[in-house]
């Protein structure tokens, strides 16, 4: 029987179809993977501040609604070493982040230019470790601190670039190439409620920000930016609110910087990159910063 005759045979066609479909199915793709529980540490030390705020947590199933209380592990053995000294950290409940570990004695402060080691042992025996060398203290460049009052023109899009009065600068920190810029809304003045018309139910009047407000996120009171320079203009798009603010410049160690890139520079879907983490045996960070701060007040736009 030649091939032409075979192709006229329905049984032959059905068998051929079955074989072809079987071939397709056998070359199918793997099914979606399920939830895998993992463990993370977030230890961000700040020079000159108490040795506190180390969060130990497990990772959560993405189908569950986030509850920080479910994430935080309260029974871990957490220790920090500095040379021959070792502190066993206690769990300190906190509703804001679910609680963290720290040295209860607030007089124990993080020293600059010092190597700290972290050791964490979970109840299930899992061990995680990390190490950081704290940066030297960062300072403002004299005369280039943020001005106490700041007022932008209304139409900043079409007016010439702002004068140098908006520019701030700081002294370079040895060993640090990259800095983090933070604008923290202190939100103490209820400045916005005196504005007219009071067209918002929020306590403060939101400042329009072209690039940020198009992608609204949870209403954080701080905004961060990444700078490779030791000077920056205090830019209009950095602010969310009118009123009192704190301008902060951080000098991060490599672990802190990588953590910032991990969590703040991937838009709405940060995905953990192991090469940016600094915890052996798990996920997370053990890093450090030094910071310099200055308060200022953002006035409402000109009418």
């Amino acid at each position: 029987m030649n091939l032409y005759r075979k192709t006229q045979n329905p049984q032959f066609l059905l068998a051929a179809l079955f074989l072809v479909l079987s071939g397709f199915v056998s070359c199918g793709d793997p099914v979606i993977q399920d939830y895998i529980e993992d463990y993370a540490v977030q230890g961000l030390l700040t020079v000159g501040e108490p040795l506190q705020g180390i969060i130990v947590s497990k990772t959560l199933n993405i189908v569950d609604t986030l509850k920080l209380a479910n994430q935080v592990l309260r029974d871990a053995d957490v220790r920090v070493r500095l040379g021959n000294r070792e502190w066993k950290l206690a769990f300190m409940p906190d509703t804001a982040n679910g609680g963290s570990y720290g040295v209860a004695d607030a007089s124990v402060r993080v020293l600059p230019d010092t190597v700290y080691s972290l050791y964490v042992k979970l109840a299930n025996g899992r061990e995680m470790t990390g190490q950081t060398r704290t940066p030297k203290q960062i300072r403002w460049l004299t005369g280039k601190e943020p001005k106490p009052l700041l007022q932008y023109p209304k139409d900043t899009a079409t007016l010439p670039a702002a004068p140098d009065s908006l520019s701030i600068a700081w002294e370079a920190v040895p060993g640090i190439n990259d800095y983090i810029f933070g604008i923290l809304c202190l939100d103490t003045a209820n400045y916005g409620k005196y504005l007219t018309p009071p067209d918002t139910a929020q306590k403060n009047r939101r400042v329009y920000s072209t690039f940020a407000d198009r992608f609204p996120r949870y209403p954080e009171v701080i905004r961060y930016g990444f700078i490779t320079s030791t000077k920056i203009p205090v830019v209009w798009v950095g602010f969310k609110w009118f009123g009192p603010h704190e301008i902060i410049i951080y000098a991060p160690d490599a672990n802190w910087l990588n953590w910032f890139r991990q969590t703040n520079q991937q838009g709405q879907s940060p995905r953990y990159d192991k090469l940016l983490g600094s915890i052996k045996g798990g996920y997370g960070v053990f890093g450090s910063i030094s910071a310099t701060r200055q308060r200022m007040f953002l006035l409402k736009n000109q009418p």
């Binding site: 070359c27 199918g28 509850k67 709405q268």
Partner: protein, 764 residues
């Protein structure tokens, strides 16, 4: 197989071929035979025709014209013969010629266009011509088909190539060519001998080649001969039109995305051609009222192709080619302005000379520059990044038609590369860093390198049934002081008139590396392979079965296996890199698969159906825990169908359908919430699953095209109606997990819905 074994295998095969008893290398009793050489051209425009078939049936001789339209037939016994010249879309031409012993005849054959896709292509003649040309995995795409197969209202060479089996896409909005597991940077894209480094517009939606200006395009999906080198996967070779030597002619077209104009005509003892295309979104936006609080981006692209060809003597021709393309995007608001620009600038001068009747030479001098960058001003704080690759290349190719059985190609190439990368985040454009410096705020790098290559390639017909192509390409790279040798070998065995088996094997090296985002080709950065990294290399193994089951149809089956060594993926974790190895992760990969391609080239109905099944794997020590993973362009099944039908003189309809397995993507296995100082909610960070361990749903799309031929002010005109994505299947471009709230939301970014477009094209 280690390199020594590669060469051992190559030389054993070569020795067998050279000393096999099948046929002596130079046929005997041919010294007194005649030779016929010359050019084939279009009767009306006198434009030379590439890949036309010239044959003498009675003498069982045949050949194809080369990229310059030149051919040579050797070993013609004395006598009177009918010489047949044919090409698709043209009426066959037969010329009776009498040859004396030792005579050398010249022939310029002019073919007349046929309205129908000609069915007069001489099948037997083509078979004779194909005996010496192995051309495994090569597809010559007809420009008429490219023009009719419009995607989103734009005819596009790369978009058409994407409809061939084995050519995959990053997405349906990307014109990048992922060929048999290779990424777009592994494809050599040549335009009149000039290398084009970023052939795309509109963030990669369409290629930057205006189809009006292109005469011929070949895609070689692997196993290519030693005349091409420097890339691991494929060659796309485009030839620009020379222009009409008889009269000034042209066309103009108004489309939704862009408009274009084309002019050609006689010039001196030759012709010229100019073609330009431009979007007008920026012009439309300029007419709209501006709102500083809701700024609209300003976007545009344009390109320009030009060529001048002059015949200096009957055996000497000089052509000057130019290509320019540019895309830019500007956005300004609230004290910050950003501008992005990319562009290609290329030019070449080509001199072709025929020595005697059987040695064809091409000297090509070219310069090609690709640049991209962005700049901005943030309330007086200025910053910019600028990145450029420039090459100056001199290339000499010689094609010796030694006998009816043997064609030898050999040549040499020297390239001067200049890479520059300038980055300035100091706040002031006026702050200029010295070349070669890298500080926390500024980088100014300039690298100059020379590369040299030489090759020899033999096409030898061992017997009526068997032919072989073999050769060697050698390189020297000055900066890392390394030498590379690429042996290549391919066979052709003809079982009968309708069944041919081909096989190819070859080693390929690549010196250039591309740092790129597969979905966004705006910031492509080409880099050399410096001493911190070894050269990339690939091995191709291809087996092909070519059949002609029914007259007018060809049915081809290809099997391939390809290894990729020392390839790269960009390292996004690294902020500052002091050498190339710090910019990339380095690893290996391999791909394998099968392709089926059924094509009908003649008649009122033309088109093809293609199916490919393939696997692409990579292994990088630094990625996925060192475990192997599928690349993003690994698609298991790939089905394509293209049909173009000429209803009558007025109406032509066409359709294209594509079905592909979904792209692999990286899913997530869990999530945790992270906090920086003073953050109240923090950031939800997801834990990824295996890299590209999951797969999106399959993607598929149907496009329809209708042409209505008419006249406008007594000028020939065509109304072009296109429907992109007819049933509005909005495929997923990528999937991400939105963790900006307490619930994690898997979010799909989808591609364009149905998009009807209308264009008008007028010829003069």
């Amino acid at each position: 197989m280690n390199p020594n074994r590669h060469f051992l295998f190559f030389f054993v095969c070569l020795a067998w071929l050279l000393f096999s008893p099948a046929r002596p290398l130079v046929a005997q009793n041919t010294a007194n035979n005649a030779t016929l050489s010359g050019y084939v051209m279009d009767m009306e425009s006198k434009e030379t025709i590439v890949s036309a078939v010239v044959s003498i049936k009675a003498a069982k001789l045949g050949t194809f014209t080369n990229k310059s339209g030149f051919f040579a037939l050797k070993n013609i016994p004395s006598g009177t013969y009918t010489v047949t010249v044919s090409y698709l879309g043209y009426a066959k031409k037969e010329v009776e010629l009498t040859f004396q012993a030792g005579e050398s005849k010249k022939l310029t054959a002019e073919l007349k266009r046929s309205i129908k896709q000609s069915e007069q292509v001489n099948v037997e003649a083509t078979r004779e011509a194909e005996k010496r040309q192995i051309n495994i995995s090569q597809v010559s795409v007809q420009m008429e088909q490219v023009k009719q197969l419009r995607i989103g209202g734009e005819s596009d060479v790369f978009r058409t190539i994407q409809y061939l089996p084995g050519v995959l896409t990053a997405s349906q909005v990307s014109s990048g060519l992922y060929i048999r597991g290779g990424s777009p940077d592994q494809n050599l894209v040549l335009l009149d001998g000039m290398t084009v480094y970023n052939p795309s517009h509109l963030f990669g939606f369409i290629s930057s080649f205006n189809t009006d200006a292109i005469k011929d395009v070949d895609l070689n999906r692997g196993g290519f001969g030693p005349e091409y080198g420097g890339r691991l996967s494929a060659v796309v070779n485009l030839t620009q039109k020379e222009g009409n030597r008889e009269k000034v002619a042209g066309s103009a077209a108004l489309g939704i995305i862009s408009s274009k104009a084309f002019v050609e005509g006689p010039l001196g003892n030759g012709a010229f051609m100019v073609s330009a295309r431009r979007t007008y979104l920026d012009a439309i936006l300029a007419l709209l009222p501006k709102d500083p609080l809701n700024p609209l981006p300003d976007f545009a692209f344009y390109d320009l192709n030009a060529k001048i060809t002059q015949n200096i003597t009957p055996d000497d021709k000089i052509s000057l080619s130019g290509f320019l393309s540019r895309d830019y995007l500007k956005l300004g608001a609230s004290g910050i302005s950003i501008g992005i620009g990319i562009g290609n600038r290329s030019a070449s001068a080509r001199w072709t000379h025929v020595f005697g009747d059987n040695l064809f030479s091409t000297l090509n001098l070219s310069a090609s520059r690709y640049n991209n960058g962005f700049d901005g001003n943030n309330s007086g704080f200025e910053f910019f990044v600028d990145n450029t690759i420039t090459d100056y290349t001199g290339k000499l190719d010689l094609e010796w038609f030694a006998s009816s059985d043997l064609t030898v190609k050999f040549g040499a190439e020297v390239t001067n590369f200049r890479f520059t990368y300038e980055q300035n985040f100091s706040g002031s454009r006026d702050s200029i860093a010295q070349i070669g410096t890298q500080t926390s705020t500024q980088t100014n790098l300039a690298i100059t390198d020379w590369t040299y290559a030489a090759y020899g390639q033999f096409n030898y017909q061992l017997s009526d049934k068997m032919s072989v192509q073999t050769g060697l390409r050698g390189y020297y790279f000055r900066q890392n002081n390394s030498v590379a040798l690429d042996p290549r070998l391919s066979f052709r065995y003809q079982f009968n008139d309708d069944i041919t088996v081909k096989a190819a094997w070859g080693l390929y090296h690549q010196y250039l590396r591309l740092a790129s985002n597969p979905n966004f080709s705006f910031f492509d950065t080409w880099l050399p392979t410096d001493s911190s990294l070894g050269l990339s290399s690939a091995l191709h193994y291809i087996l092909s079965l070519e059949t002609k089951p029914v007259e007018g149809y060809s049915l081809n089956f290809d099997l391939y296996y390809k290894t990729l060594n020392n390839i790269n993926e960009i390292n996004l974790s690294n902020i500052r890199s002091r050498n190339v190895s710090q910019i990339f992760y380095s690893g290996n990969g391999y791909s394998y698969g099968a392709e089926v391609f059924l094509e009908k080239k003649t008649g009122d109905l033309t088109g093809w159906i293609g199916y490919a099944m393939g696997w692409v794997w990579s292994t990088f020590d630094s990625l996925n825990g060192g475990r192997r993973f599928n690349t993003r362009y690994d698609r298991r099944h790939d089905f394509k169908a293209v049909a173009l039908y000429r209803l009558n003189d007025r109406w032509e309809i066409g359709g294209s359908f594509i079905f592909q397995s979904g792209q692999p993507f990286t899913g997530v296995s869990s999530r945790f919430q992270t906090f920086l100082p003073n953050e109240l909610f923090g950031t939800g960070v997801t834990i990824p699953t295996d890299r590209n361990g999951l797969r999106l749903p399959p993607s598929h799309q149907l496009n329809l095209n209708v042409n209505y031929n008419t006249t406008l002010f007594d000028l020939p005109a065509r109304l072009l109606i296109d429907i992109y994505n007819v049933y509005s299947r909005r495929d997923i471009l990528f999937r991400y997990y939105d963790t900006s709230d307490k619930t994690t939301v898997p979010t799909d970014v989808r591609l364009l819905p149905i998009l009807p477009t209308l264009s008008l094209e007028v010829k003069f």
